[in-house]
């Protein structure tokens, strides 16, 4: 099946906070989260993040950002709402007060995509983009009438839960990707692989405390259970998706990886054997970690800067809550 990424766009709110201010505001929660770790691990928790600021929704809602990103992506792809056959919302944190069954249903109505099939699922945090692409490909491969799919995510941290130390600090953002099976424009999808390990579902979880949602990080689980296999599982998926296309790591022109932290990006760089500084700069310092929108943000920035040339191989990779790992391979 010939399916391409016809367009990708993102939207971030204009309001922002410094990471320093976030960590100061959430000091008690951060200290409680890090308490099970060794003194050395506690000291390292906030080192090497590479994040200076995060964007915060403020008066805007994640849905407003989703609508903006979707509209921008549709304009870029040159398609109308009537062309959309599938809208898939894969937001992990759509907002505590989100009143919609899913952003997909609301988008369908607001965009005028009256005939679209509207779906929503929650899975994977930063790794969810791969699951969304794989899900859309499944629908497209079993239903010939689905020729264009709009994949969206809009995420905002619950109040007082921006710190996910020892992992990251979360900013708000939304993004949209349009997949089409027609035309020749956009990166051609070559393969998608994803895996989840359910026994690690509590590593980062949503809990309700005093009537409000809170992101609870099990720091000991992250350090002792997730991190030892974090890159190993990612590496396995990378090898699997490359082998299916008879390619190797050295064939990849651009690695598009998430913005969880600079030290995480450094780990990924070592994993794929890139030279120091081999991963392209991203706007992570300004936006923070934005869950599944990270990959879209980085892809859009690379395209804007003209770094992606026709024919080049792109490897998208990320891992997130669930615990979930995913890799997508495409040719520009």
């Amino acid at each position: 099946m010939n399916v391409r990424i016809a367009a990708a766009a993102y939207a971030v709110p204009s309001d922002g906070e410094t990471v320093e201010a976030v960590l100061a505001l959430e000091r008690d929660r951060v200290e409680a989260t890090l308490a099970p770790l060794s003194p050395q691990a506690r000291l390292k928790a906030a080192e090497g993040l590479g994040l200076s600021r995060v964007r915060v929704c403020g008066a805007r809602q994640p849905y407003d950002l989703v609508l903006e990103a979707a509209s921008t992506a549709m304009a870029e792809a040159g398609i109308t709402a009537q062309d959309l056959n599938l809208i898939l919302d894969y937001s992990t944190f759509p907002g505590e007060n989100s009143q919609y069954l899913s952003f997909a249903h609301k988008l369908s109505a607001d965009l005028g995509a009256e005939t679209s099939l509207n779906l929503g699922f929650k899975s994977g945090g930063c790794g969810a983009l791969h699951l969304a692409i794989k899900t859309a490909l499944g629908w497209m491969s079993t239903d010939e009438s689905i020729r264009s799919a709009l994949l969206v995510t809009g995420d905002t941290a619950p109040q007082g839960s921006r710190s996910l130390l020892p992992v990251t600090v979360q900013g708000d953002a939304a993004s949209a990707v349009i997949l089409t099976r027609e035309g020749t424009g956009g990166a051609l999808l070559l393969g998608v692989e994803a895996m989840t390990l359910g026994h690690l579902h509590d590593a980062i979880a949503l809990v309700k405390t005093n009537g409000h949602l809170e992101i609870k990080v099990d720091a000991a689980c992250m350090e002792n259970e997730v991190m030892p296999v974090y890159y190993l599982n990612l590496f396995w998926l990378v090898q699997k998706v490359l082998a299916a296309s008879s390619l190797s790591l050295s064939d990849i022109d651009h690695f598009i990886y998430s913005n969880i932290s600079q030290r995480d990006r450094e780990g990924f760089r070592r994993m794929v054997g890139l030279r120091e500084g081999g991963l392209p700069a991203t706007p992570m310092a300004e936006y923070g970690h934005t869950f599944a929108s990270d990959l879209v943000i980085n892809y859009v920035h690379m395209r804007r800067e003209g770094r992606i040339l026709p024919g080049q191989l792109l490897l998208f990779a990320s891992a997130g809550i669930g615990f979930t790992w995913g890799v997508t391979l495409a040719r520009a």
Partner: protein, 94 residues
């Protein structure tokens, strides 16, 4: 086949970068003890697969299966035994 000795040598030369192999005892915690990090484990598993001609699937490896040389040896021996069973089963089917 002296599995532990080969793995000990690989770890000392390639993962721990200069730590003499005698400092790694059979029960030394490699992962939980901080001697091998997440990236080091990628290299170790690749070595095990190549050297012992075994293949792991993601859910087979966790911090409890490769934390010590003893556990690694047990894991490899199980894989090798499983391979022999598979081979024998295949022969019977033919």
């Amino acid at each position: 086949m002296e599995i532990k000795a080969e793995v000990r040598q690989f770890i000392a030369e390639n993962v721990l970068l200069g730590v003499h192999q005698t400092t790694i005892e059979d029960a030394t915690p490699l992962v939980t003890g901080g001697l091998i990090d997440s990236i080091g484990l990628v290299g170790l598993v690749a070595f095990l697969e190549k050297r012992f001609a075994v293949e792991f699937v993601p859910r087979e490896i966790d911090v409890h299966s490769v934390d010590t040389l003893e556990q690694i040896e047990e894991l490899i021996r199980k894989k090798l035994a499983g391979r022999k069973v598979d081979t024998a089963g295949g022969g019977q089917q033919i």
